[in-house]
Structures are given as structure tokens and as C-alpha cells.
Amino acid sequence: MEQTKQSTILVVDDDEFNLKLLNKMLSIEGHAVRTAASGDAALTSVAEQLPDLILLDVMMPGLDGFEVTRRLKADARTRSIPIIMVTALEDQESRRKGLETGAADFLTKPVNRAELQMRVKSLLKR
């Protein structure tokens, strides 16, 4: 990945305020941000255009973060997209499950701006 090229990040969360906040936090860093408010919408968005990275909330009604990850990892075209899972602070079980399904990294809620930017940068460099 060239440093100069703008990366596209897909942010998936069923909470509109979270979406707005994460969108802003990433766009001020120069990333192109797309948003999806559900697991289904996320899969549709990925099918339309492959993002460079996905920021994925775990707890969502309908398809949850684990299921979305499972499906993306099962598809050869989307397998290599790094996924950062967003979990509740005390949810160790989600971390274990997330690692098993193939998440590249984790962030806990509330997402810290500096931490988010650092993790995103590090994953996009790979």
C-alpha cells in the first residue's frame, strides 16, 4: 500500500452517534470513510467496493460482528481485508471469539481517538 494513496475504511455500527464519531475521527486523518448501520449493510457495502480496512462493532442486532467476520473470512476476495473489532470493555469472551474468527485487532468502547488512529495506521502499513 502506498502511503500517498487515500485508504478507504468501512465503519460498521448500529449506533448512529458511534458512526458519526468514528467517521469524523478517521476522516480528519485523511481516510475515506464509508459507513454501514448493520451487518447486512456492511456485507453489501463490501460487495460494492472493497475497503482497505473494516472497523466492526461486535454487538449488533441481526448479523453480529462475529458473523460478518466469518463470512468475510470465508470469501477469497474479502479474506485479506483487516478487521478491527470494537468490543465492550470487560468482554474478554468477545476477544477470544474475535481472534478465532480472524479479527486483526481490537478496540474497546469508548473508542479513544489517539488509539484508533494508531491502530488504523499500523494495520494499513502492513
Partner: protein
């Protein structure tokens, strides 16, 4: 399992009598087993008491028949008849009172003690000796008067048997049978209530914190000028939103922590370790804060504290509360110290849930304004209602010190506060080092 074991010393030497005694003992043991199992149905109990009464009638009649046949003194036969009636009266009473008795084992125990002492070990032993004398040619009246045997020797097997019986029936039955029925139900109810509480805590925690974190997130973007440049006043207001929100988040977190502690949802995870390193880490954090708020901060940790069971998270939380308070209430230019020592239990001035010989004493001392004597004893009580003055004059300390108390107790220790108005305050926490085995 046999609640009551037959003892050779119970034998009268009259085979028929002993055989019947054994049968009665067997029936009592069956009763014990039913009661121990805690599953005695009304029909089972009725059947058992019926058998006990029937067999007792048969047994006493047989004994009386034997006495008459051998020709023992009528005084002896009459005394035996009184015993006979007494025995049946007790069986009937037990049966009638079964529903009233919360402790069927104690009831059975009482019955057996009187039966054993009066009948098997008393009357029947006497009868047997009487019969032996008559068989040896003595006159029945003389044989009846010859009662000279001391009671002492006879009382021993009785006491032993009763002690054994009491252990097995009373203690085990009370613990097992009642536990099986009542506790099973109670356990279910507690589990349900606990699940409900857990869910409520998780939900309320999420509902309170999520919007608050959104407020903080947006205020952060605003104050940092990341959503466009702001005037100095706008920037300052965004900062105010952020600061006020942060304070509220701290209170919400403390309340949730308190609710979890009070619901017993925080489990101690103590591992043996030397607290020195942990204390140094905490000290480093507060040294930076002290510098920023113009306070002198000193840490004094006794050399070679050694390993002790510690839950890092609980200890960190405890010290965060205590140091946070000290920093908050000590004006700029003041001094805060953290002094850590091993102390004997005699130095602990607070009630502690578990006894240990030695404690780790964590003392946070400041030279701030101190605490009024009328407020001091109430500092560790959660939310004293109707005392707005306390809340106003010590804003923010209310929940923190209650957390300190509960966290110290969770760690098997205790906490205390000392203060003189005008000369600072000293908060102490003691954590057990050598947990004594119960």
C-alpha cells in the same frame, strides 16, 4: 447408614428381649434414614410410625408376659406398664407433632434418649437381673428390692449412643435434609435474582455510559478544533462540556462499581506477589499528577515487604480512590504521602472479616484542611440520606470512600480514617498477609 448402632452393653441377657430391642432399633434407624434423605413422604412416615407403635405394643406385652411367667414382683410389672404407656404416648406425640416440628431429628433424638435411658438401660436391665435372681432361686420380692447396681456404669453406653446419634441425625439431617429441600428452592430463587441483578447492572451500565461517551467524544472533537476552528470562548465551553462529562462518567463508574461490590459481583483474584513493584508503578503515576497540581508527593515503602496474596486490580483501585481524594482535597503547595508497612494485627484499628497475624498497611496522609469530627465516622457509609451538607462539603468523596471500605473488605481487610480539622487527614487500609486457615 445406621444412625444408631447397637452396643453389647445394651443387652439384658434375655434373648427374646434383646432381639425385640434390636428390631426396635432397626425401625428407628429406618426412620433416621428417611429423615436423613430428607424425602420422607407423609405415607412413608405414617407407615413407619405405625410399625414402631405396633411393634412397641407387642414388645412391651411380651416383656410383661415374660415377667408374669417368671414371677417377678408385681411392683416391677406395674412400673414396666407405666413405661409401656409412656413409650406409646411419646410415639403418638411424635406423630401428632410431626407437622409442627421443624427438626424431626431432634424429635427422634429426644424420643430415643428417653427410651434408652428408661427402658433398655434402666427398666429392662433391672428386669433381667431380677429374672436372673429368681432363676437362681431368690424370692421375687427380695429380688425386686435387691436393686443396687449403680447407674453410672449404665449411663456410659447411653451417652455414647446418644452422642453418635445426635451427630448423625441432628446435624446431618438438619444440614442435608433441609438443605436438599429448602435450600434447593432458595438457591434457585437466589440464582434468578442474581441473574436479574447482573442483567440490570450490565444494562444500566451500558445505558448510562454510552450516551455519556458520545457527549465526551463530540466535545473532544470540538475542543480540539477538529470540527472547524472555534473562538476562544467556544473552545473553552467545549472544554467545559468535556470536563463536566468526565466528572459524571467517573461518578457513574463509581456507582456501577459500588453496585457490583454490593451485589457480590466482584470476585477477589489474589495471587502471591511482592507489592513493591505495583506500588512503584502507582507512585510514578501520581508523581506526575502531583507535579501538575503543585503538590509534594512522597512514597515510603518498607524494604523487603515480601510476597503476600494480592489482587492487583483491587489494590490499584483502593489506592486510586485514596490518592485521588487526597490530591483533590489538598490545596496547591500541600503534601500527600503514601506509607506502606507490614504491621502486626494489634495495629489494625478497624474490624476485619478474617483474622491474620500480619497485615499490609497502606496509609495515605495529607496536610489538607482535614475532616470535621462529626463527619469523620460517617465517611465510609454509603449515602447518608438527608445530609446535603455532607454531600456539599465533601463532594465526590461519598462514593469513593464507600468503595474503599468495600474493596478492603473484599480483600479480607479493613479501613479507617483519622483527622483533625486543620491538620490534614490519614486514611488507612489493612490487607491480610498470612490468611489463617479456617
Amino acid at each position: 447408614m445406621k444412625a444408631f448402632t447397637w452396643d453389647q452393653r445394651f443387652e439384658t441377657g434375655l434373648e427374646m428381649v434383646d432381639q425385640q430391642h434390636r428390631h426396635l432399633v432397626d425401625l428407628v434407624n429406618v426412620a433416621g434414614n428417611i429423615l436423613l434423605g430428607g424425602k420422607a413422604s407423609e405415607t412413608e412416615l405414617q407407615d413407619l410410625f405405625g410399625q414402631l407403635a405396633d411393634y412397641a405394643i407387642y414388645h412391651f406385652n411380651e416383656e410383661e408376659r415374660l415377667m408374669v411367667e417368671i414371677g417377678v414382683d408385681p411392683r416391677h410389672v406395674d412400673a414396666h406398664k407405666i413405661q409401656h404407656r409412656e413409650f406409646l404416648k411419646q410415639v403418638t406425640m411424635m406423630w401428632n407433632n410431626r407437622a409442627l416440628s421443624k427438626d424431626p431429628a431432634a424429635m427422634l433424638h429426644g424420643f430415643l434418649s428417653s427410651w434408652l435411658s428408661m427402658h433398655i438401660l434402666g427398666q429392662d436391665q433391672e428386669m433381667a437381673r431380677n429374672i436372673a435372681r429368681i432363676r437362681a432361686g431368690e424370692n421375687p420380692a427380695a429380688a425386686c428390692n435387691a436393686e443396687a447396681e449403680t447407674v453410672d456404669r449404665r449411663i456410659d453406653p447411653l451417652l455414647e449412643a446418644l452422642e453418635r446419634l445426635y451427630r448423625l441425625l441432628s446435624v446431618q439431617n438438619r444440614e442435608l435434609a433441609d438443605a436438599n429441600t429448602t435450600l434447593q428452592q432458595a438457591k434457585l430463587e437466589v440464582e434468578q435474582a442474581s441473574r436479574g441483578k447482573d442483567e440490570f447492572l450490565a444494562a444500566i451500565s451500558h445505558e448510562l455510559k454510552t450516551p455519556l461517551n458520545h457527549i465526551l467524544g463530540f466535545a473532544d472533537l470540538l475542543k480540539e478544533g477538529l470540527a472547524g476552528e472555534l473562538s476562544a470562548e467556544q473552545q473553552s465551553m467545549a472544554q467545559d462540556i468535556f470536563d463536566a462529562g468526565s466528572k459524571q462518567l467517573a461518578i457513574v463508574n463509581a456507582l456501577i462499581e459500588l453496585a457490583k461490590l454490593q451485589a457480590g459481583k466482584v470476585k477477589l483474584q489474589a495471587r502471591p506477589e511482592d507489592p513493591t513493584k505495583l506500588l512503584k508503578e502507582i507512585a510514578t503515576r501520581y508523581a506526575a499528577k502531583a507535579k501538575a497540581s503543585g503538590l509534594a508527593f512522597a512514597i515510603d515503602v518498607q524494604q523487603g515487604l515480601g510476597e503476600m496474596p494480592l489482587d492487583r486490580e483491587v489494590v490499584t483501585h483502593l489506592l486510586d480512590q485514596l490518592l485521588g481524594n487526597a490530591f483533590k482535597f489538598t490545596p496547591s503547595g500541600g503534601k500527600v504521602s503514601l506509607v506502606v508497612r507490614r504491621v502486626p494485627h494489634t495495629d489494625v484499628t478497624a474490624p476485619v472479616p478474617s483474622a491474620a497475624d500480619e497485615y499490609l498497611e497502606l496509609a495515605v496522609i495529607d496536610n489538607g484542611p482535614g475532616i470535621a469530627p462529626e463527619i469523620l465516622p460517617r465517611l465510609f457509609q454509603p449515602f447518608v440520606q438527608g445530609d446535603g451538607r455532607l454531600a456539599r462539603s465533601h463532594q465526590g468523596t461519598g462514593i469513593g470512600l464507600v468503595l474503599v471500605k468495600l474493596l478492603a473488605e473484599l480483600h479480607g481487610g479493613g479501613s479507617a480514617a483519622h483527622s483533625e480539622p486543620g491538620s490534614g487527614a490519614k486514611f488507612l487500609v489493612w490487607l491480610p498477609i498470612d490468611q489463617q486457615q479456617p
